[in-house]
Symmetry: C2
Subunit: 472 residues, 2 copies
Amino acid sequence: MAIPHMTPSEFRKRGREVIDWIADYMERIEGYPVLSTVKPGDIRAMLPEHPPTTGEEFDDVIADLDRIVMPGITHWQSPGFHAFFNANASGPAILGDLVSSGLGVQGMLWITSPACTELETHVMDWLVEMLDLPPAFLSSGAGGGVIQDSASSATLTAVIAAREAATLGTANRTGTAGGLIAYTSTQAHSSVEKGIRIAGIGIDNLRSIEVDAAFAMRPVALEKAIEKDLAAGRRPFFVCATVGSTSSTAIDPVREIGEICRRHGIWLHVDAALAGTAALLPEMRWIHDGVELADSYVFNPHKWMLTNFDCTAFFVADRTPLIGALSVLPEYLRNEASASGAVIDYRDWQIPLGRRFRALKLWFVIRHYGVGGLQAFVREHLRLTKLFASWVDADDDFELAAPAPVNLVCFRHSGGDDVNQRILEQVNQSGEIYLNHTKLDAKLTIRMSIGQTHTEERHVRKAWELIRKASA
Amino acid sequence: MAIPHMTPSEFRKRGREVIDWIADYMERIEGYPVLSTVKPGDIRAMLPEHPPTTGEEFDDVIADLDRIVMPGITHWQSPGFHAFFNANASGPAILGDLVSSGLGVQGMLWITSPACTELETHVMDWLVEMLDLPPAFLSSGAGGGVIQDSASSATLTAVIAAREAATLGTANRTGTAGGLIAYTSTQAHSSVEKGIRIAGIGIDNLRSIEVDAAFAMRPVALEKAIEKDLAAGRRPFFVCATVGSTSSTAIDPVREIGEICRRHGIWLHVDAALAGTAALLPEMRWIHDGVELADSYVFNPHKWMLTNFDCTAFFVADRTPLIGALSVLPEYLRNEASASGAVIDYRDWQIPLGRRFRALKLWFVIRHYGVGGLQAFVREHLRLTKLFASWVDADDDFELAAPAPVNLVCFRHSGGDDVNQRILEQVNQSGEIYLNHTKLDAKLTIRMSIGQTHTEERHVRKAWELIRKASA
C-alpha cells in the first residue's frame, strides 16, 4: 500500500483552507454561545466507534470540525469570555506557532536547534526589560529565563530547585528529607498544593498563611509560622507569594515577604501568572515591588499577553540549583557544545526532555505589536475594569467583594448566595457571556475577568446589562 | 495609541504567506545541512538588543525567519535526520495543530470545552484498538488514556500515581514516605531518574537492574533486588520496563517483569515511547507481550506516528490513584458537570492545569492516513532498518552492536572509538545526514534511527555510502 503523505502542494491548498476556516471563525465568533451547551457524551456520540482503515478526504475532516467539534467548544477567544482568567491569542501568535509546527524541531539541547535556544534566551531577556524585572533574571548573569507550558509546571520547578538549594542535593539522592516546610497564602493557586504534593513534600508540610481584608498574605503571620516551625526543628525552605491571586487578583506584599525570606534563608517564588503582564505599564510596576528579593518568578504571556497557550515565562535569579536538580546526562545526549559550557540546554530547566520552538510565537507577538502596542492593549483592559467596577460600586443592589487592582472585578448581589447563583446561571445560559465564581469571605462571588483580545467597552457594557437584568 | 490587532482579513493574507513559507520549506528541505553549523552566540548576535517600541511589518518578521532563524535550525524534518529518535510531523498534524491554536481553548475541565475532552478520550480509545492494547486502558472501564506533552512527564505522573497507590495517600499528606524503592534497567531512559528525583524518592532509591546481552532487563536480577529490599524492610513500589530503549531499542521482557510485579504488588509502568507505534502492525505486537500486566503505559505519537510534538499517549489501567494523587479542587474550578461525576476533567490526569486541544492533530492524522496508511508507513521503516542492518552485517569493517528489532540500527566500525568518533564527525559535517552515538558494552556506538516522515530507501542508501566513505 502506498503511504498517503500530504504533498507540499496539497499542504499549500489545505493550509489555505484551514487559515480561511480560522479567519471565518474570527469573523463569526460573536455569533456562538460562549459556553458550550452540549451534554456529557454528546460529542462522543457523533464520532465513529472505530478509526478508519483507509484515509479520508480532508474536506470531510474540515466539515466535521463544524459539525462535531464546534458545538462542544467553549469560546475562550470570544470577547464575551469573562470566566477564570483569559487565555488570549492573536494572529501573530497563531502564525508563530504555525511556523513552530512546520519546522518541527526539538529544542531539548542547544545543538538540536541552536536558534530554538538562542531566540528563547533572547526574548526572555526582552521580557525582563519590558516588565522591568530584576537584572538577576537576565541570562547575562547567574540566572535566566525559560519558556514552560504552564505556571503549574513552573511552580513545581521552583519547588524542586528550592528543595535542591535547601538540601544541597540530598533530596535528589536520598529523597525528600523530612521536615521541609513550605508556605503560601490561603488565596494561592491550587498549583502550589499540587507542586508540593508532586515533589513529595506533602500537604501537611504546606502552611496556608492567613490574608488581610484585601486577601493579601499577612507577612506577620508568615514570619510567626516560620518561627514556630523553626522552634519545632523543622526546615522552612519555600515561600510562594502571589501577585494577582486567582480568586480576586490580590497582591501579596512581596517586599516584606522577601525580607522575611532573606532573613531566614528561604527560597521566594513569586507567582504572577496573570498579573505580571500588567507590569508592561510603568504605572503598574508597583505590583512587583520587592521582586528583586525573589529567587524565582513566573508569569504567563498566554494569559494576557496575546501569545496563545502554551507560553509560560519562568525566571530564576540563580540557575545553579535549578540545573542541579533537573540535569541527568545519559551518553546519547552528550555533545561537544554542551560539554563546552558555552550554551544553554533548556532540557535542564524543565520537567520534560523534549520541547517545542515556543519562542517563535512570543517573538512574533512582540514584533507585531511592539512594546507600545502591548501597553495600549493592557491599559485599555485596566480602564474597562475600573469602569465596570465603578458601575458595580454605584449600584445599590451590588457590592464590590474585593479590590480590583488589575483586570478582574469580584462582586456580588446583596441578595445572598442563591441570588448570585441564579444570576450566574442565567447570564451563562444567555450564551452571550461566560462568567464564573469564587468564594470570598465565605460568600459566593461573581468574577468578571476582562482580558480577551477583542473585548471592548461595548462588550463590558453588555455584560453589565445582562447581569443587572438577571438580578431583576 | 490604537491597538494594532491583526484583523481577520489580514490574518487570512498573512496566514497564506506562512502556509506557503512552510510548503516551500517542505520542498527545499533536502537542500539544507541537517545539523546546524552555527557557533554558540551566532543567532543572538543577529537579534536586536531591545524589543521594538512600535510594531514591525509582518514582511520583516517573515524575512528574518530566513535570515536569522533558519541558519540555526537542525532539520528534524529532513529525511537525512537519523539522530536520537525522530520526532516526525506531517501535513495533517500541522494543520490540526493550527486549528487548535486558532480555537485557543483550554481543556482543563470538561466544561471549559467539552469537545476538547471528549475527542481526546475518543482518540485515546482508538489508539487502544489500533495498537491492540489491553481493554483496561479503555475509558469504558476503570482506566483510560490522556494526551500529555512528553514521555518524561508521563513517567513522572506514573511515579506519582504509584506512590499514591503504595502509600494510600500518605505521600500526598505527609511527604514521600521513606523506604519506597523503584526499579528500572541500566538502559532505561533518563526520564525515569528525573521523575524519581522530582517525586522526592531520591536516586539512591532507584535500582538499576542489569541487562542481558541484548540490553534487555534480566527479570531474575529484578526479583533478586526486590527480595533484598523487602528483606531490608524497604517498600518496592514502582518498576519501569522499557519497550524500545533509547540507546538500542532493547525490549524488556514485560510479561516476566509484570508477573514479578503482580506477585509483589508493585506498580508496573511500561515506557514504549518510541517503539509503541510499531504495534500498529500485527506482526510487531510481540513487543507488548505481557502489557496487560501493566498499571500504566506510554508511547509518543510525536516520535514515529506523524503527529508533531507534543503528543504523548499515556494510559492507566485504574484512574483512581492517578486522580487521587493529582486532584486539587479550589472553588473557582467547581462546576455542576464535574460534580456530577459524568465527565472527565483531564487537569487531574497531568502535572499542569491548562491544556491545549491536542487531540485535534491526532484525529487529523488518523483520519488522513487511515490505520492502513499508518501501518504502511511504519512497515516501510522496518524494512529499511532491516536493509541497513544487512549492509552493516555484510561489511567486514563494521559490526552490529545490538539487535535491531524496531527502527534503529546500532553499529560500529571495528577500528575502535576514535575511528567511530571520526566517522560521526565527518558524516555530520557533510550536512547530508545527522547521526548521534551511544555507548554499548562501553564502546562508542553509532545510532542510525530510521523514522522521519520522508525517509526513503535512497536516503538510507546515501547514509550508508557516506558512512563507508568516512571510514575509508
